[in-house]
């Protein structure tokens, strides 16, 4: 993949970015009953790969990301991050949450720059980098607004910018493009791919959009419900750079699409009996 890989080849077995071993998460529901949100997830995420999580609503995708960020402990099993067991908050990841968690008392600019503030990046550089990502997500001119003065999609983009600006080496992205219009979405997908191809970050990307998943991912992890679990892992060997318009004509694309679509179709109603 990346040039002469003599160094990498000599390494015995490459440590995965994330290794999930029988990861289970239960929540206590109201009547003192246990509710299994995620059951026995066994999964490895290779360093530098782009992985998409896809699956019906409520199948535990966000829950798994929360656990990967170390914000939620697993009820069973273990998560290893770069070979070490995750015990506390995972500060090596950038987490772009499903719901924007902007600080309402900070302007867009100060929200986006907060990670740089924490890293004590000098003000001048901070401004420059913040201005760059603001431009990237198309929020130019809104830097001085407060989150409550933005539309939902704009808030989403602001939190996306906040996650990208400090260039964390691993990105957890929970439906980051969900609220964007088609055009913007396409731009953002291309930008993300560009960033990824440049830096080779590991990216875990949750989406409900099968096209988006196939366009972006090296591997797609399909989740099912009741209990939430991994039902299938699909490798996407399509050549990069990918272009959605061209991809659609590719028979390999069609095959993957069909297969995953069936899985997604089945995973919700078939389980209703439980």
């Amino acid at each position: 993949m990346t040039g002469p890989s003599t160094v990498q080849a000599s390494e015995p077995d490459v440590v995965p970015e994330f290794a999930y071993r029988r990861v289970t998460r239960r929540f206590r529901s109201e009547a003192d009953q246990e509710f299994v949100a995620l059951n026995d997830v066994d999964l490895e995420i290779e360093s530098g790969s782009f992985v998409c999580f896809i699956g019906p609503s409520g199948c535990g995708k966000t829950t798994l990301l929360n656990m990967s960020a170390g914000l939620l402990p697993a009820s069973g099993g273990s998560i290893h991050f770069r070979g070490e067991k995750l015990k506390k908050v995972n500060t090596s990841v950038g987490f772009i949450t499903q719901h924007d968690n902007l600080l309402p008392w900070r302007t867009v600019e100060k929200n986006i720059g907060i990670a740089l503030e924490i890293q004590k990046v000098p003000r001048k550089e901070r401004r420059r980098r913040v201005a760059e990502v603001i431009d990237l997500v198309g929020l130019t001119g809104f830097a001085q607004r407060f989150p409550s003065q933005l539309s939902g999609g704009m808030q989403k983009r602001a939190s996306l910018a906040r996650g990208l600006v400090y260039e964390p080496s691993t990105l957890l992205m929970d439906e980051p493009f969900g609220a964007l219009d088609a055009q913007l979405r396409l731009n953002m997908q291309n930008e993300l791919l560009r960033i990824w191809e440049r830096d080779r970050k590991t990216i875990i990307f949750v989406t409900h959009d099968l096209d988006e998943a196939i366009l972006l991912a090296d591997r797609i992890v399909v989740f099912g419900t009741r209990p939430g679990r991994v039902v299938h892992v699909e490798d996407v060997p399509l050549a990069r750079p990918r272009d959605l318009a061209e991809l659609r004509l590719d028979p390999a694309y069609g095959e993957i699409w069909e297969r995953l679509w069936k899985l997604l179709d089945h995973s919700s109603p078939a389980e209703e009996k439980s």
Binding site: A69, G70, L71, V89, N90, T91, V93, G94, F95, T97, H99, N101, L103, P104, W105, R106, I114, A115, E117, I118, Q119, G141, A143, Q144, R145, F146, P147, S148, Q149, Y166
Partner: protein, 299 residues
Amino acid sequence: MTSIHKVSPGPAVADVAAPPQRSAPVTVEDHDDHRGRDVKRIVVNVLRILLPIAVLVLWEFASGDPDDGALIDDFYVSTPSQIWSALQGWAQEGVLIEAIWSTLQATIVGFAVGAVLGIVVGIVLGSSPVLSGIFRPFLVSLNSIPRLALVPLFILWFGFGLQMKVALVALIVFFLVFYATYEGVRDVEQRLLDVLKVMDASRLTLQMKVRIPSAMAWIIQGLQVSIPYALVAAVTAEIIGSNTGIGYLIQRSAGTFNTAGVFAGIVVLVLVSVVINALVTVLEKRLLRWKPRNLKSAR
């Protein structure tokens, strides 16, 4: 931060322009509605001014010597003109400004002491479950002591001067601000803390960048609520045992059956608290600019 950004006013949000003059009946209704609201506003404003004047005039005529057929005995309720001349008397005597200043001093100093302590203790206990577990029951039981019962003690400790008043004001303000701050800090949304934790924020950073700003709305509310109490506390302390301040003037007037003086003291109090409240409102708007409610009203 810098002056560059003051240029961008972002006009789109603030005011919706007058409705376009379309012919559909809906627009007519709209228009009427607008005019109706304008008329209402004018009526409200006019009545706001007229009503107090009317009350004053009625009061002036209703109050007097009951033997002359007056409705209210001016021994108990002085006429506005009597109150006015009492005020003038104090002003000439030079005690009016002195009393206001004395009361304000006690209010401000006591408020500052109580507020700072309340905020600090509130933040510390609010963000530490352990400390909160230890100290809260203690504070709750302290809080249940009737404050006025402590005044004699304060007089013993501090005498009749400023310190005694400050102690009472600070005590009352402390608990109000403490509870507001404590609740505010605990009310912070975990998801906001989580976002920063993932960014490797230290405890101090979380405190400064999330907990305190998030509690700010509560703290300001607590401060706002406690301002009138601070004034009341200062005046109460003056009435019970002091030789300066508005409370003392009221007490002295009552002691000599000078009803007009008592009323004059109350008028001064009302004016002082109106001014203070106006200042606080301005400050609140500034500090809580990010709140949707305040954003809309910003020009």
